[in-house]
Subunit: 181 residues, 2 copies
Amino acid sequence: MQRLPIKHCRECGTSVRYRLPDDGDTRERAVCTECATVHYENPLNVVGTVPVLGERVLLCKRNIEPRRGKWTLPAGFMELGETTAQGAARETTEEAGAQFEIEDLFTVMSVPRVGQVHLYYRARLTSDVFDPGHETLEARLFHEHEIPWDELAFRTVRETLQRYFADRQAGRFGTHAFDID
Amino acid sequence: MQRLPIKHCRECGTSVRYRLPDDGDTRERAVCTECATVHYENPLNVVGTVPVLGERVLLCKRNIEPRRGKWTLPAGFMELGETTAQGAARETTEEAGAQFEIEDLFTVMSVPRVGQVHLYYRARLTSDVFDPGHETLEARLFHEHEIPWDELAFRTVRETLQRYFADRQAGRFGTHAFDID
């Protein structure tokens, strides 16, 4: 996902300049030097699931950068036209080829350093057969004691798994909103 | 917020064409016909609060389009570099000039028709003096029976207020994730 400065206007192709727009906005935006179009850049949502079959959680070994070869929960960028739950389900299908029913929203994590919000849903797997897509080297079920904590791809994944096992231990699943530096 | 098709490449200014990128992506993106830069368009987050003082909820009368003159909870587009809670607090300061302490995440609403996710936090007001910004005509506290249900600006606001009063009645506040057609 690009987060480089915008260089040219999406409307007319002329160069932009970062400045305060004329509408009272208090942030510098990329404003076209010709047609004055203002370009907004905003955080992105990453949506995914914690897919569970009985006592085991499904993790995917990444076949793409960043963190190729590390383990992750199925997740990816939310697309226009879908809900957070639909996006989470789509990513689970694409990355793991899993059969599942989506359940409640589980974590909502702001990651301001990279301009992202990550939202994970719990999902109940209905089969232990997986058909992972090209982004995944391997899809596999893990008991809690088997989780490769040192080989997880992202802190959002670790924090979500930690809360999942804690809630399961407590016998009650909540929705957890918190921030990641 | 612009959701018009992208016409020109942000990197080089050349015209783009909507097509499947060459990287296995399954969605059409705006791809530059010259430098092949792929432009992604993704949902936006709107963040806000339900500010409460005792029994009363703070609403703001909008001074901007859309829905000028209608009542809303303080909310606006999340910015890069902030968390959802920070964005919600910023909007509450900008639109109402309120003094408050932010509390737990209350609603998470997907609005796929407009490509948005709305996230509201509960907030505890610490003063009944407000200093609304230029986007707000009036900031005022409402008891539940005073809420101008027919004069609310957005369905996300109505749904959030309904759940707030229902949870208050039930004596327990949760986090509510749902979709709005």
